[in-house]
């Protein structure tokens, strides 16, 4: 009987040693070469630091003098977020059914997936720029942007949830002779409802955050107020706005987390 071995080493990440060390060497060389050739102008970095210093000096103490403007901006952001969430979810539900491979026929499925991919492929800022060009400055462009953003996110995750359902319930409805809509309403909707509510609440929170960003390119809301404050060198007001944005987002995240935990 042979002796039992008492040493063991984890097999290496790449079995071939030449390939393994070659890869490590290549990565190291790339990092060194990149750092050496990057056009980093250290003078500009130090200039930037002094400029940042000036901005921060101007920003302290934050000014809450124009609270009215701040509140108006926020209410607009909130309206944009709510409108976009409701609109986004209304569009997302049928789209999610279209994009669920186990429910929709192949051509419908491809169409649904295609729409979702397009909605997801651009960052909200880019979509906002397009909508601001199309419908002009203001909250309407912001709301439309966030509808697209919501659809991309909610419809995709909802479609994935639909693909995970217990198909036995669908079979049961089919065997009873139920029509298509009735089958969806009885066998599918109850199964995806908790996820839909959770996604809706998360999306409201996410839209509120995003509305601050899209406002900077002219799509209304608190982002527009912030962009104006920066444009006029009102750094103290800008800081006040930023602080309030952070506060509100912390609050909304806590609230949405709490609700989502409750419904799960």
């Amino acid at each position: 009987m042979s002796t039992v071995r008492d040493t063991w080493k984890k097999p290496p990440f790449i079995a071939n040693p030449v390939l393994r060390y070659g890869l490590y060497a290549a990565v190291a060389t790339y990092v060194v070469v990149t750092l050496a050739t990057l056009p980093i102008d250290w003078d500009r970095v130090s200039d930037g630091l002094t400029r940042a210093q000036r901005i921060f000096n101007g920003a302290f103490p934050p000014s809450f003098e124009r609270t009215g403007l701040l509140i108006d901006g926020f209410m607009e952001s909130l309206k944009i977020a709510i409108l976009a969430t409701v609109g986004g979810i209304l569009l997302s539900v049928p789209l999610a059914f279209m994009a669920a491979g186990n429910i929709a026929a192949k051509p419908i499925y491809l169409l649904g997936r295609g729409i979702i991919i397009v909605a997801r492929s651009f960052h909200p800022v880019i979509v906002a720029i397009i909508f601001v060009k199309a419908v002009g400055f203001g909250p309407f462009a912001g709301a439309l942007t966030l509808v697209v953003y919501s659809v991309g996110f909610v419809a995709k995750l909802l479609a994935e949830r639909i693909e995970e359902i217990d198909f036995g319930q669908v079979e049961a409805m089919r065997s009873a002779g139920a029509g298509f809509i009735a089958t969806l309403a009885y066998a599918v909707m109850p199964q995806i409802m908790p996820r839909l509510v959770g996604l809706g609440i998360y999306q409201l929170d996410s839209n509120l955050r995003a509305s601050a960003v899209v406002g900077i390119v002219g799509a209304g809301g608190i982002g527009a107020t912030l962009a104006n404050a920066f444009g006029r060198y009102d750094y103290d007001f800008a800081l006040a706005i930023t602080m309030v944005i952070v506060g509100v987002i912390l609050l909304s995240e806590a609230a949405s987390g709490f609700i989502r935990k409750r419904i799960a």
Binding site: A172, S175, A176, Y186
Partner: protein, 257 residues
């Protein structure tokens, strides 16, 4: 009367799961189908109401050839076949009453289904049936609050709400403990004679099959190799039904259980 003639089902290009199978079920007989996993029992039941599309052959229920139907006609015809499932397939988040009424979805309008405005007659029928199987007091409970045996009773009532001409049960007791399993089998047998309803049950528990059925059908590799009264099922017949492994007889096995 259900008449199945030369029924064949092939998944993909493999060997057929059902091979020119003939079967006739009538009256208020309780027929049990036994056989090892992969013998084609589930596929057979699902081919009857076309949850699975048969490759060839005919399924005739009281004069309607189910294999020729399409779309709306098929949906209307499916109302005539009740089905009970192994995993109950109830809608967990809906109430027992909604689950029971879902057996009527083939009859009522989509709008009535969405708004839960069920016809009075259906509600009365539901209460009668729920009373009969002992779950009437659960009408407003969510289906996932019930125990396994109670859930399967809901499944049976849902199927009976269709006022079916035949009841199919795909391993209705496989997820239940022995005692509950016996209760459900008793219930199915009694309902078969009370409602003059032929019942076909796929079952793994041969002892139960022999105790409760009027007739036993033994399947092996997509063919019926035994069809007789329970008393005629002896050791030799059992050995033949459960002999071998499917892989020996079928090069490629389909998705059927």
């Amino acid at each position: 009367m259900l008449t199945i003639t030369k029924l064949t089902k092939r998944y993909g290009s493999g060997d057929p799961v059902l091979k020119e199978l003939d079967l006739r079920v009538e009256g208020d007989q309780l027929t049990s189908v036994i056989g090892s996993s992969g013998a084609g029992k589930s596929t057979l039941l699902r081919c009857i109401n076309r949850l699975v599309e048969p490759t060839s052959g005919t399924v005739d229920l009281n004069g309607t050839d189910f294999t020729k139907l399409k779309g709306r006609e098929l949906r209307t015809a499916r109302r005539r076949i009740g089905m009970v499932f192994q995993s109950f397939n109830l809608i967990d988040r809906l109430t027992v009453m909604e689950n029971v009424q879902s057996g009527r979805l083939g009859y009522i309008s989509t709008w009535a289904a969405l708004t839960r405005r069920y016809p009075r007659e259906d509600i009365r029928h539901a209460y009668e049936l729920m009373e009969r199987v002992g779950i009437a007091h659960y009408a407003n409970k969510r289906a996932d609050e019930l125990s396994g045996g109670e859930r399967q009773r809901v499944g049976v009532v849902r199927a009976l709400m269709q006022r079916p001409e035949i009841l199919l049960a795909d391993e209705p007791t496989a997820s239940l403990d022995p005692k509950t399993s016996e209760q459900i089998m008793t219930l199915l047998r009694d309902l078969a004679s009370e409602l003059k309803l032929p019942v076909i049950i796929n079952i793994h528990n041969v002892t139960e099959a022999k105790e409760f059925s009027d007739r036993i059908v033994g399947m092996r590799y997509g063919r019926i190799i035994f069809d007789n009264q329970p008393a005629a099922l002896g050791k030799a017949e059992m050995d033949e039904i459960y002999a071998g492994v499917p892989a020996e007889d079928r090069a490629q096995v389909g998705a059927a259980a």
